[in-house]
């Protein structure tokens, strides 16, 4: 039961990272890959019909955590109070910037909101990365099941490392997305170049961070076999990504980048399992999915409607979104 709930949360979170990940990665790269107004538009419009739906995965994951593991949701969200409120403000800033930039047709207006959009996107990745890093590392939870994550606690070297890798990996993901979705022109050229330049950094970051994780959590990794499998998936995906990027095969590069993110998340999940919020310094003081298990009715309900909801989403998207996925061309206003 608890395992199913753990997997369900993993799927929703992975969905968020893969889908909104390319929005955030694209945002991070926006100022570098597109210079003039036509290029900016082509870049931004590549996510226009999708970003809002992508963000919904975060809401779905948060609400599922709320329904399935109320105590863990409560401890984590109150513990990460300021960082999470900052995440909210940045999500708002990103959404406002995206929606408002074309309401007034003036270069200064565009330039301002593009910078807001890029800054919010990059900072969102960093903050969510810090949160993820601290979840893998563990948080100083007390007997009352709560903690308060001051920045001096949260901004530790390991979490910052995770944040940096997240920034690099999602920038790479965004570049692969643009390679797949934008038709020709300088945006594609620069995205391909970004992909080539980011690749060695992502590889180095991944290796260093994996090593750090093994040193830090070595004996307390929950499911070593799955953690290794995640690493293998990540390794293979990186190889495929390299080859696809060299051939400018955007779709393959994007899928490989998504698989790489799945590999990273699988390793992270296998490391913390069965804890959703491990303790620090001893992970066993944390909150796990068995002691804080959902009631059977809760879980049955949530599993049923999540599966129905995701099937419906797939149906909607094949019926509708398939007809909307034209490629984004420089100069075209979709």
């Amino acid at each position: 039961m608890s395992v199913a709930a753990f997997c369900l949360l993993g799927v929703l979170l992975a969905g968020y990272v893969i889908l909104d990940g390319y929005d955030l990665g694209m945002g991070t790269l926006l100022l570098f890959v597109s210079r003039d107004e036509d290029e900016r538009r082509a870049t931004l419009h590549s996510i226009a019909p999708f970003w809002n739906g992508n963000e919904t995965w975060l809401v779905a994951a948060g609400a599922a955590l709320f329904a399935l593991f109320p105590q863990i949701y409560a401890s984590a969200f109150s513990g990460f109070y300021l960082p999470f409120i900052l995440v909210l403000w940045l999500l708002m800033g990103r959404g406002i910037a995206f929606e408002i930039r074309e309401m007034i047709d003036h270069p200064m207006w565009h330039a301002f909101w593009d910078v807001v959009f890029a800054a919010c996107s990059a900072l969102l990745i960093v903050l969510l990365g810090v949160a993820l890093g601290n979840i893998v590392r563990g948080v100083p939870i007390d007997r009352g099941l709560y903690f308060l994550g001051y920045f001096t606690v949260l901004l530790n070297p390991y979490a910052l490392g995770v944040a940096l890798l997240a920034l690099l990996a999602l920038a790479q993901h965004g570049a692969a997305y643009l390679l797949a979705r934008v038709d020709g022109g300088p945006v594609v050229e620069r995205s391909a170049r970004a992909l080539t330049r980011l690749f060695p950094l992502v590889c180095a970051g991944w290796v260093l961070l994996s090593a750090a994780t093994v040193v830090m959590r070595g004996s307390s990794v929950g499911l070593p076999a799955f953690a290794a499998a995640g690493a293998a998936v990540a390794l293979v995906s990186l190889a495929v990504l390299r080859l696809a990027a060299a051939r400018r095969a955007g779709d393959t590069a994007f899928r490989a980048s998504a698989a790489f993110l799945v590999g990273l998340l699988l390793s992270a999940a296998a490391t913390t399992y069965p804890y959703l919020l491990p303790g620090y310094p001893d992970p066993r003081t944390g909150l796990d999915v068995f002691r804080y298990a959902p009631s059977p009715t809760s879980l049955r309900t949530a599993l049923t409607f999540t599966i129905v909801g995701l099937v419906l989403l797939a149906v909607y998207r094949t019926v509708v979104a398939g007809r909307l996925t034209g490629r984004s061309v420089s100069g075209e206003r979709p």
């Binding site: 739906g53 969200f77 409120i85 929606e99 309900t301 419906l312 509708v320 909307l324």
Partner: protein, 454 residues
Amino acid sequence: MENVIADRVQFSFTIMFHYLFPIVTMGLAPMIAGFQLRAARAGDGVADAAARFWTRIFALNFAAGVVTGIPMEFQFGTNWAPFAARAGSIVGQPLAMEAMFAFFGESVFLGAMLYGRGRLSPRMHAFAAVMVWLGAWLSGFFIIVSDAWMQHPVGYAVAGGGTIVLTDIGAVLLSPFAWWQFLHAITGAVVAGGFIVAGVGAFYLLANRDHAVARRFVRTGVVTAFVASLLVVFPTGDRNGANVTAYQPVKLAAMEGLFRSEHGAPLAIIGMPDTQHRRLIDPIEVPDVLSFLAYGNFNASVRGLDDYARADTPPVALTYYAYHVMVGLGTIFVGIAALGVLLLWLKRLEQARWLLWILMLAIPFPSIANEAGWVSAEVGRQPWIVYGLMRTADGASTNVVSGETIFTVAGFAGIYALLILLYVMVVLREVGNGPGAAPETDAPSATRGAEAGA
């Protein structure tokens, strides 16, 4: 400042600001779907222009609703951790369902609505509008199910350690308390939508422009507002009142400003509650009517606030005023909409400039009534966060200090001030551009849609 006060300030501020936008989305969605269906079936050009214009306004509202909605979801955990931990197994379910069934569908079909003109067939395009309508209402339904459960808990058991666990999701989703609350809120939103559409139409007529579309706005808006404003009163308002009377009698007493229990209790039309001396100042009352409305009997006894322990009564003045603002405005809306329908029927509405002025200036008031209704419902629920099961003071996060919350309240206030400024600016610009400004051919109109959404 006490933790719980800071947390309540933040929650009430962020939710009241957020709700400004869902009122409009839930209210406009059925009319947009109606325009779109008519355009698809009858090839009605005016309906098509109307659909396009309101879709642009809708998209702005939807975006503002999304960005201000996510903080609501997070705040249960950040500011109300003990409440979330105890009641999450139930309260979290409808929120997750909202994401799965409402948000996912809405995001796909809104994309289709905004970017599909010219790419999708007119029927498919109209279908997307209907799905967006369904999504907007479903979203409201799930949220109200969560709230109604906090007002009147059902389908639960209390487990060891005081945790409240879900036993019957059917009971939670089909709770009559939730359904009447939902129907009351949704018809209230449609009143707002009707007045907005009619009011903008009235503005164009007064400004002597866009006549064909403006007439359609006024007609559709006034008729919609009339039907909805009647439904707000009866049966939805009446049944909602019956549920409050049955399950939350102390809230009823606070809403009505009834301090002493009485046989044949009067209904206070106006008057100011004086909580010091436990009376209404300068009341205008209709004798016996409250007893009748509450229990169907002019002589029935209605319990007053003094019958309850002070610790169990809600803040009286706020509950009372919010309720009276809602009821007073609701009554005025029935009157204005009825006049509008009468003059429409007599074909005199366009000449009645005074009524066009009233319709235009009425635009913000249904939103005020909707917000006031929620204030009376939620402040009247105090001191409980889950009625009868958990007190609000026990629900606030203890590990988050009030200074942090005050800081974040200030942050939200700043961001929302900027947001409302941009929103008003852009909406006024769209209204200024008008429905006629949309080009006739397909390709550029898709661009306009994209601009509204992007």
